[in-house]
Symmetry: D2
Subunit: 337 residues, 4 copies
């Protein structure tokens, strides 16, 4: 039985808490920390069976009964708390991104060098039933050598321009999941990135210095070409699809819907829209990723997504930004230098 | 908060226990009873957070702290325990079927007459996301007046001939769910049933006096014609579909799969088989039906499926058997007489 | 090269003329006869490259240069012209139905006994790409032994009540195609039929003594159970589907559409309605059936659909009517007696 | 009635001949010219009802009875014969591409300046039912402003390396259709192109100086971003899909298949592969494009695809080649200079 502390009781902290309480086996939550802990949040914690709550995450790190922490706090605290937790000997599940600053991620990498703790980064989409099926088909050789990898990733609603301004930009905030997906599906790293982007959804996003629409071409190390298409606003909902084409065939997914019901009338043949957003679409994957983290601790195996898997999509995001600024293909090796 | 006792810790008892512990809000299980209660089952109960276990369900009925029971014991005990529980003032969720014997069901009906307890019967498929979407479209008038209702219901594997012999026959064991579905989708009762059946899957089933394949035509009270097609063995897995056709259109569902991944190769374009069987396909619906039961208690409203909803599919099953025996259409009114 | 005469220049006569002129190889039309032949029709014939037109089909029968006739005249003339043509030594392609009167069909059967002419009846749906693929899968053993055969056949618009009154009734006018389809897909004859029918589309059809909605259950000679569902009016267009379920699996078709375009908006995910009616849906099959007829003549082989294939669906239609009248399952053998 | 001469009796010349003889109204073929005209080809012409055949296309240009020519000869002759035909006052339907050399296309443009003849270039895919439905949805505003346009275009088999060497390269030989498609779907011209390409199918194609796999990103003049993915070999057949995503939604197509039959067995749920190659997939579109050409002549309207529509995809192909050579985004305006 792994004893867990939750650091950060916002939306995703609550999701992980519910997963551990209801679905994940062999794990129990002892304490939930949040700087804004209040009565409402404490009551919610109690309703989940967690009676210990605190404003100070350091209580969790200091608690010898706690084996592992889930860092669900605000993005800018991910890397420093990761380092602290590693030093405290806690296994760490850290929400994505570890940081937007490569040097900060390197501090986490350094901290892990002297440590035996498990570290997992929260790219949950790898645990989605559809993308997992695509990856499994690729890994089983069913499509032969991958030649073209396509990821469609469109949000149902754009963020506010204020959020866009502080989010690190679309590539580090939204596309970062797709960068991870491309690495996952290809089974290798990216070599070079070219971005064609635009502001087509909301001019305020452009004024904030960001883009809202992009087609991103990526040369992968195994020779395959990946392409991601992003939009901050799909009128029909969250569009999350992948396709891998190779020497022996293709594997592709469609979106999930609430039901398979199709209505045929004089107006046409109409099915449901995709599930609205990530909480609807990816709920299962959140439980699955935490379950894998707990299993890695229990079985003393590697986590499925280590700290380097946290670093590399950030490098890709930085390369993407540079490609937009300099209007040219950018090698990942230019970023790591 | 509703305090629940579970009577019967077999497969479905365990499913409902997990639902209440993990998903259903405002309910807690105090005691689990099973005549074969042993250490393993008691340990499982503890792992779910239920420390009270017993071999004697009467302990549950006698416990004034327990508000409601879920009857998940063997079929022949459903009606007597229902009666006892009602008399003990417990709300009752009873697995289907209440009984194969109409007189026994009438005893439950009689017991309920003098009582204020809630009674719900476990036709879980009404709570399946696909069938609920079909029903909602019908109820919203999107297909106009229903004219033709089609239910396809095929199991992945036949039962043993021994089971078939004691199951009450395919119509009361398997088709009973489809009889309920037809009532649910049509929004009314059946009037007359005609069955064309055969033994095509396993001769031993025929030798045991049962059938394994059937097409069942039902005249509904609203004038619509329903048709159910059943097989005890679909090589590709559990086939569970419905279609309602009416004056303004049609609504139809397909099967659920583990993922939407489709593989295109030189051999064709291949998607996944339907989810294997009822535990895979209907897990969500089990939680949803129990949640509705708890809500009915909390809000003091009718349960969505009362004792008459438990009776009527049994009448339809008996009429279906009679239709096979007498090779003619049989009115439901012939059975109730 | 087979020289052909067309008898009847109505809608279907024109379809077959166009097929022969444009698509079918090794056939040429010498003469087109129609009792209402006028300048417009003659001009149309000329535009198709046919300069010979007449009001009297006997000219065609008397013409020694003509090898074969296509009988596309009104239904009541099919059998007498068939007999005349056979006696004149012409190969005959006869539109369905040969007749509604079994005795009249028997006269054609008798005429063929003393003759070496080829005879084909126009159940064009066997030549539809979708149904042919289903039949091929069944014949290749891909689904094992057939257990359940389902045919959905719904028209986009009901006929006028006047037409319904003289059409022979829905079973002989519309369902007759589905009776043939069931025989084709099962690869055997029907043994017994039970009909549950209703008047749900247009009360005037009921007043004219006909029905407009039906579910028809058929026991086939190979033990499979077939079920046809019919409606005279599907709001979304012509619904023409088939499914065959067997010991090893299932093969099923969906409707054809004008394009595969799917529109996703805030309102849902919408594809096109089925092709409107038989001319849109089955145009290819009309050419293919005539091509098979011409090939049978050229290669001196059996036609794919002989006179008995014309008779049997009529027997099934008569049995269906009797089932409605007598409210019981009716054996085909009761009709042939 | 438009009298037509066919120049070039190879594969596509035969397709257009059959279309005009069998499907296109108001057009007749007087003469077919081919430098390799022989008895077999002359017999084929006769079977199509065309008795005039010649080795010399100049006979057609000199024939005052001939109104229009279809230039279906080898690619290098398209532009000079176009110029000659225009000067001879013949309407011209010219197979794609007009030429790989922009200067040669400009000669055709110049010839048209002094002329009233109609000129149409053979980008047949615009007339495909699926792509036409996509374009119609876009033009009708159903998806709002286009933001992202995706075209998947993969051949079932690569050409020989010898062919690749003389074909002008993949971009001018194969992608040129997709460049036209992107212009058609966007309703505007391209501004800038970036290519990421590779040799993954056949090393011999690489040795011949060409590529066989590419992802091509295109900035369109209306601000939309288009992306084409190409492969010379899809194991599952000819993959031809398009998707347009915009401010109000998305419209997308799937591949066409021979039938809609789907087989469900213990091995999975399998549908048919896409139609094999362009003759199977695009046959209808060939007839439709020629029909539009004839109608433009008859009604004295513009052809749907003029000489500039022939030029622009060539400019895009040249820009694509330059992008590969210089490994950077290339503006179309760089090519026209």
């Amino acid at each position: 039985m792994v004893t867990v502390g939750i650091i950060g009781a916002g939306r995703i902290g609550k999701v992980h808490t519910a997963s551990i309480c209801n679905i994940v086996k062999n794990a129990t939550i002892k304490t939930i920390a949040d700087p804004f802990m209040n009565e409402e949040t404490a009551n919610w914690a109690k309703s989940m069976g967690v009676s210990n709550t605190t404003k100070d995450y350091k209580e969790i790190l200091a608690d010898p009964e706690i084996d592992a922490v889930l860092i669900c706090s605000s993005t800018n605290t991910h890397s420093p708390i990761s380092v602290e937790a590693i030093k405290a000997g806690k296994h760490v599940f850290c929400e994505k991104p570890i940081d937007h600053d490569v040097d900060k991620i390197k501090e986490v990498i350094d901290a892990l060098k002297d440590s035996k703790v498990k570290y997992q980064v929260g790219f949950n989409r790898r645990f989605d039933h559809n993308f997992e099926a695509v990856r499994n088909a690729v890994a089983a050789g069913k499509i032969g050598d991958p030649h073209i990898i396509k990821v469609t990733s469109r949000d149902p609603e754009p963020p506010s321009a204020e959020y866009a301004a502080v989010s690190g930009g679309m590539f580090l905030d939204m596309t970062i999941h797709d960068f991870d997906m491309v690495r996952y599906l290809a089974g290798c790293d990216a070599e070079e990135i070219y971005v064609q982007s635009a502001v087509l959804v909301d001019p305020a996003i452009g004024e904030a210095g960001d883009v809202d629409t992009a087609v991103i071409t990526i040369k992968m190390e195994n020779g395959a070409i990946a392409v991601i298409d992003n939009s901050r606003k799909a009128a029909y909902g969250y569009d999350q699809r992948a396709e891998v084409f190779g020497s022996k065939g293709m594997v592709a997914t469609t979106n999930d819907t609430e039901s398979s019901a199709v209505l045929s009338t004089a107006d046409g043949v109409t099915g449901e829209k995709p599930l609205y957003f990530f909480l609807e679409r990816y709920m299962q994957s959140f439980a699955k990723e935490v379950n894998c983290f707990i299993q890695a601790i229990e079985n003393n195996t590697d986590t499925p997504l280590g700290v380097l898997d946290g670093l590399k999509p950030v490098l890709m995001g930085i390369a993407a930004k540079k490609s937009v600024e300099e209007h040219r293909p950018v090698k990942i090796s230019e970023i790591t230098m």
